[in-house]
Amino acid sequence: MGDKSTPLLAVLQLLRKYNLKGTEDILRKEANLGDVEYENLDLPEVELANILTAHHTESDPYSYEFAYDSLKKFVENSLDVYKYELSTLLYPVFVHMYLILILYDHNEHAIKILEKFGPEQDEYYQDDLKRLCAVKNKDQVKGNELAEIYSSNKFQVQLSRDASTQLKRYLHEQKSSPIIINIIKNHIQIDVCDGPGRSHAQVKSTLGGLLGEASRNENRTKVYYGLLKEPDLQILPAQIEDEEEAEETPDKPKKKKAKKDNIFMKKPKSDPNAPPNDRIPLPDLKENDKVEKGKALREAAKRVQLGPECLPSICFYTLLNSGHTAICADICDDSTLLAVGFNNSTIKVWTLTTVRLRGMKSADKLQDIDREAGDVLVRMMEEKDRETCRTLFGHSGPVYKVSFDPFKTMLLSCSEDSTIRLWSLQCWTCIVVYRGHVWPVWDTRWSPHGHYFASGGHDRIARLWATDHHQPLRIFAGHLSDIDCIQFHPNSNYIATGSSDRTVRLWDCLTGTQVRIMTGHRSTPFTLAFSACGRWLASGGGAGEIQIWDLSSGLPSAAIPPASNSPIHALAFSRDGTILASGSLDSTIKLWDFAIISDENINEENGNAAPTQKEDKFLLRSYATKNSPIKSLHFTRRNLLLAVGSYDGSV
């Protein structure tokens, strides 16, 4: 009973593992443990205590405080070069000390340690500590999620070679009290890397993850962050031979042909960082989609070049009378439709132009239309049935995210009822329900090429689905806590997820493996955005900070500290990648100069550079709304910024 049985049962398990039946029986007999495995019976304590105390270093609770104090002093007295790296050790050692004391029933000592050293830890760990201190005795460890994460996974700490030798020397001196040695051996993974010790800024930039920083090895895989080669969209009328993907453009008057050539005939240089087009199967473009794509490219040519001198205009859509019912919003790619998900499980779709939303014709009328006509897609819609707003019913819980597909035919939504629904924007009904997550789904996104979509939820995994399979194609497991946001890379080959364990991870769709893990957020990232070129990933967190990650190395390139403490729920890059817009719950939109960040990082290609942190350099402008927290940001094809928020009239 008490603390004696736990090591005994562990010993029993060990004996069983090595098939030492005789020893096990003897031990059982001596310890009177009986036949049932985990039954606690009265034990003859005296002999066992003597045997175990020799190896039982944990039995001296008073020495823990002293050990931690001396570790702290050692860290503070070491050279500046090593100090910051070594100070990352303090928190895991402290947490594991607490857990060990609880495990061996020295509860009062545990509480004393918590009170003495808890407030000294960094503030982003304070929330974790609060959750951890709900564990007051051994039985509660099992139920507490955080305690389980800490006890079953090793905390990662990165040290330079010199710092680790210093640490080894100190631990060697401390041989008499092996507490810290044991903790480091069992619970902390020290990643030794060559090179000089990191500066304070460098260390601070990657702190914050639930289980420490990412090890170097985890970020070594090559990531193809380039964009896919776009299919050519034009045949010159003179040319009869087919290029591999050449297709027809819609007919246009001949005099514009020269201009067209410029847009469409630009053959991009093959990017060494771009994945091959067939790395993952992508849907071919249908005729209609090619027309749309041509339109999109033409609009892109007309777009405004943004920069520090030329800031975008912002058009803000305010949802009135939505109070606290509107949860999420999304605008489709050509900026003509707006969808909003509500907490009463409905979804409303509005049209943002004068073109109204039409329903499909009834069955008998559809039989009469000419299917071979060029504009059959227009003819199949019912003229008389037009509205500006349509409501979609079907979910049975608050709708947490809505997402338009890149071709404007379908809408995806995910909800607390753990289903993801696919809606048709032509019949205005639900077509498919994707079941698989058993817990609330927090985010779902379409791939930029259509056909695939991804979702992440409370069950800590992200799934990759295709519209024509009722089960997911890929499962991305590895996060320690629920996945709050998910985003596709512009080349559809990678998926980024942000989770409550304060890490952002990049997954490969082809293999399902994690290719990058990026720590450094002080709080949960709530929104992710890829830059237009695909090399950078921006993530906005719950404490209002924005981190910019360089995907080629997995290191943070810039960290924009929070202007206020309110979470950022919307991030958007301009279409040419020069401006980053962020919208937060304190009702402001801020524009950041991204060209500076990308230029700086291209110039300093050799790694280990400290990420830049000066906020004033980046902030271009800040726009405040009256009282509308920003829900979503969207750059149109011509670089006009659209923002959606609901007016909070209660304050």
Partner: protein, 234 residues
Amino acid sequence: MSEKDKGKASAQTKHIPKDAQVIMSIMKEVGIADYEPRVVNQLLEFTYRYVTSILDDARVFANHSKKKAIDLDDVRLAVQVQVDKSFTNPPPREVLLEVARVKNVTPLPLIKPHCGLRLPPDRYCLSSCNYRLKPATKKVVPKPIPSNPTIKTITSKPPGTQNVVVKRPQGAIVNVTSKAVNVVPKPVLKFSSGSKVVAKPAVRVTAGPSAHPVKMEVDEVSQKRKREDDDYDM
């Protein structure tokens, strides 16, 4: 004046039952400072309900093992049974990693070319027709229904409160893979009877307050259904 207020306030706090005070102190300890007063009531209700159900189960277990009084083990067992039912946690990380490893080995399936909407097989979609129930006899109908809705004809637009399910053939999307036209396939349902479906496509299945017996015309419907099935199997 302020003393009277304070007195009143303290009198009011005295009226708050002890259990509610316990809940409030728990909230304070966890760090929640800002909450509506109804939250305390909700949490109290939940606590009472949970504890009584646990103790009930524990009593059952104690009786089963012929014990006079409820034991700690009984309560533990009851908690275990209850927790697995209502408060499930996502599976542990190792299980998830294993599942992911198995799932991610299969290569991504190729995409069928020249499809309209790419959807899962029909039984996983919500794209079939809705059924409509035909009321049995007129005189049993308690609520006034403007027209007598049958499958055959509809003469007028029925109002929203109708107790029938309207067929929505135009909403049905059939995966027609034969045609090479890259458009959204049109539903190819044929109707022999001159049934005009009036309702808009957004009308959903309304269960309706159909307390009166409704006889479903099985034969006709099943016949129609079979024909539609043929179309679907294409």
